[in-house]
Symmetry: D2
Subunit: 340 residues, 4 copies
């Protein structure tokens, strides 16, 4: 590992990218943000403002090709990822890629294959929940087998409301995908099948959106996971996961924080959005990635995890259309990804 | 309403019957336990011991036919209920019948029809959760529509362990039946369909029992309810229900009671069994039934509710066998039962 | 013990008395309310309405002297208690006396002495918290010594608001007296000294009332108990007690009940008043008292407990005036009261 | 503000110092640890191992006097602080000084005066709780006045056990001092008086230590704060603070984290020590200090806060000896510190 600060290039200066620019500049150690690329050059400049020595590019590809960039953070829309990832792999530099890896499993597989051809895991997918302290505690418990094997998991994923244009498909690809990844990671098993059910629509759902949904996924080892997706619940952002094991249950994402009594009620505030809820997870994810990237590697969800998530999403899409149980179609896990 | 104490006859002096004898004698106002019938006369005598003026019968039917019995509590196995219920209906006296009403929907329907022929609702089924203060609070909330309409419910029903001989069918008929009833009652809707899923078996499950199960039921109005049934969970008895509504969620059966810190842990005790958890509900059920029975009526789940529960159980049995979604087959609700 | 129903006379038909009339008539087993006495005869009649066979008296003393009254519930103001208690003791019938026993320790001592002269404990003081299931669980824990000896207790006693005319003295005599009794009962020790402190007044306190107060009491065994009294807290009625022991802490009265998420908040409702919070405790107190009274005795706080509470209140009054630590002045406990 | 990384010198390589070395190297952005000084040079070398470009000194003063050190973290025992602080002030570089500022108020005042003479606030005291997200939320609530003014605060400060040689005085100077600081900070008032009470000793307390203690402090504005100090509670490390305001209460430090059911209990783990509990607070404190120090200033408790804490500790010492209420003796706050 080099002892120099990691010189990071950021591709994408939208809301998420701009957040990551601040994160890298203000809260992440051993890293230096040296370049920001965005087709909207003004946006790139705004994100770079106040960060000494950080240049901007209107062509994202330039960020990846420049020799003084040691590693890349990718925060553009998923549809743009494939060529950028392939370029980074070709240059042999680590990439932290916001999910999704790519928009579909076929293109994701091409990234996986390119990475294998390059002989080194360089691509990390930004599934930040893996860095949340509570999720990590649950992972530790399941790995240690303190309560025996997991049998069931109950998840809830609630957003206060959706932006205009949010669709049923996005509920699977953008929201449920996090549960697909945490399930795979917590259980260390792939997902074999998925079912989508639609209860009656909420009056709070915008026209055309079937909200809420109850998704059930089954792991290859027979664990059944139910996921409530309710993206117009109104009251806040909440992500909850309860693992039911043979000798006990464990819940993460329960109510937390300052506790008050006032106006006839006891309780506390629900977090408002995912940034609020997973701020610490994002920070830890970046800090650990920087440490790993300085050694040329990654420390988090791999390209394989990105491919697997895409495959489950595609099965989810079929399940959504047919209202029936759909098996996940994916290749066998290459040895290349066999050790976590 | 008469101002005299209600003279109650108890049929069945097993564990539950003996509990009810103590309850009636020691904690229920305006009632007097005057007779206990059980084919095992010794058992009846033990249950009656210390209760002045309480006689015993070896023939349960005698309890119902004796003129000084104003009302009957039925605590024998479900298979014996039908003739006893019909006898009580014929005599025109109120009955509080431990669930199930009868073992199947066909016989339950005969009770429903007999009651209609008699022209008066006399039969109450002992679904005690309807009297639990938290469940009542949830019912109030749903009826008032404070959070809009219910869309989903998440339930968990956990027992520490099962007695010898416990079967998959009993998980539906004896355990899940409570969730069937509370769902119908809370939503004021019938159940239209049921699905049973089997995650991998717990190592704590006795041979032959597929424990846990994940049951999903759908109400006629489109509410989807998932029910975790885990009857060998080891850690205690726990019943939980979370209603997800359009503008909020409400949970009953969460962790409660004395809260401690000791030996590196914060928390409290899980209740040990259903008597412990629903003691107050049973007491309230009996007290309210006595008040209603003094006026010649009932105050709780009706014979119709008993029939509907049986119909859902039968669909559950089919779903269990076929591992697929099964629609509930039941007659339309007679006007006789239209007002709650 | 007789197997007949206990014939109860109720003295006092105000708010509390009328509640007890309903309780005795509707929810308490093995008892029959036969007479209600109140100087305001109309009020007595209203309380007796609908209770068959319950007569009314304008002279409370008549209730106690009538031969068909087996036991008495006393719900008049404390200033009227002494002669009524002495009359009941003279007749040798059990009395359940709402707190306070009498308004001061001197008169309380006369009751104690009369009871000793009569040779039998007949007087029970209505400290209902002793019957609250959570407080009983805490008592069990302390008695068993699971966590070692108690060292400290932290209490809070909060009311939404005070009725007109509520005074500093009433905060001690009517509110804090409950903490004095529960402390004595939980620890099985007397209270040796009391200190009253005044933080800055709440803007919600009516003129002339120094609200909140922080009272500290010390047991004879050296346990220090702090009590927050805040009787215009606005948000509800809340009573909390945390015992800090050598190997753990235990809290009762924490937030409980249905749990919801709505409008940006998680949590539940605070109980509105003491009837709401201690309803179950009152019911259990009465039921157990009826069982004991049928055997001629009591089952709860004794006349001695009433005397001790009065002695602590008087020390509290002195502490209030002087803003300093005041020792409690009381006689040694007579052997007559030595066994609980 | 310079855009260069802050070159930090660390003085003191004990347990805390070594932790800070890791923190600065691995988790804090915009800083570079360039020197570690400790009279035990081996210890300094161990703390510096793996940190490229970090030299070591056997003379702590050298760290401060070297021109390439832009700011200093002081983690030596309090008795050594004064000359080191004065040296840093003289050089005009920011210092983050672990508490206490100095061992007594007289020496603390000399630091305060030196800083005023230098004309710039350079000294920050490491009261890390001010950076805990929950405490900050409470501070925000109190500042905004959402619940009206604070009237009372209830605090508990519990440690599993004490190291050998821990004394009554250390319970005040090392433990309670955190509550003194958070009280001053939360209320934005000074502390006027302090009382110490001793309940009976815990059997878990080592000989000679009067554990637990109940300390009461009063703010200049009349807020009364009770603090349970129990440093051999056995079950874990726990810090709790409940502010009681005119229209509501707010608690921080309540039970949090993963929630489980197992072995008859529901609940979670108590944190084991202060590093575990306040890890995030330490990280945030350092990150914010680095940002402030790059601009030549501080962002946290000032030298004045260190002096005030020392003055309260001294009053606490007197209160400890005399078992009586002691007023805090301190100078009026200089204008120099008047803006926070």
């Amino acid at each position: 590992m080099t002892e120099q600060d990691l010189r990071v290039g950021l591709v994408g200066a939208g809301k998420m990218g701009a957040d990551h620019a601040r994160r890298l500049h203000e809260r992440v150690s051993n890293a230096k943000l040296v370049a920001i690329g965005d087709p909207d050059l003004d946006r790139a400049k705004r994100a770079a403002s106040g960060i000494e020595g950080c240049r901007t590019h209107g062509d994202p590809a330039e960020v990846i090709s420049t020799s003084d960039v040691d590693a890349v953070v990718l925060a553009t829309p998923g549809a743009t990822h494939e060529p950028l990832l392939l370029a980074a792999i070709e240059r042999g530099i680590p990439v932290l890629c916001e999910k999704p890896l790519t928009p579909d499993s076929k293109s994701a597989l091409r990234v996986v294959e390119a990475e294998q051809a390059a002989g080194r895991r360089l691509v990390q997918v930004g599934f930040m929940r893996r860095f949340d302290p509570e999720y990590r505690e649950l992972k530790r418990l399941l790995d240690a087998g303190d309560f025996g094997r997991a049998l069931l998991m109950h998840c809830a994923h609630r957003n206060p409301s959706t932006p205009p244009g949010f669709t049923d498909e996005m509920m699977v690809f953008d929201s449920a995908v996090h549960e697909f990844d945490t399930t795979r990671w917590l259980l260390d098993e792939e997902i074999a099948a998925i079912t989508v059910r639609h209860p009656r629509r909420s009056a709070t759902a915008p026209e055309g959106l079937r909200d809420p949904k109850l998704i059930t996924i089954e792991s290859t080892g027979g664990v059944v996971v139910d996921v409530e997706l309710f993206v117009n619940c109104g009251f806040g952002y909440q992500v909850r996961c309860e693992a039911v094991c043979e000798r006990g249950t464990a819940l993460v994402g329960g109510s937390a924080g300052m506790f008050s009594h006032t106006e006839g009620r006891w309780g506390g505030d629900v977090t408002k959005d995912f940034r609020d809820r997973f701020m610490q997870a994002f920070d830890l994810e970046f800090q650990r990635w920087v440490h790993a990237a300085r050694g040329g590697g990654i420390d988090g969800a791999s390209a394989w995890d990105g491919y697997a998530a895409a495959a489950v999403c595609e099965a989810g899409l079929a399940a959504l259309a047919d209202d029936c149980r759909t098996e996940v179609d994916m290749i066998a896990k290459p040895d290349f990804y066999s050790t976590s």
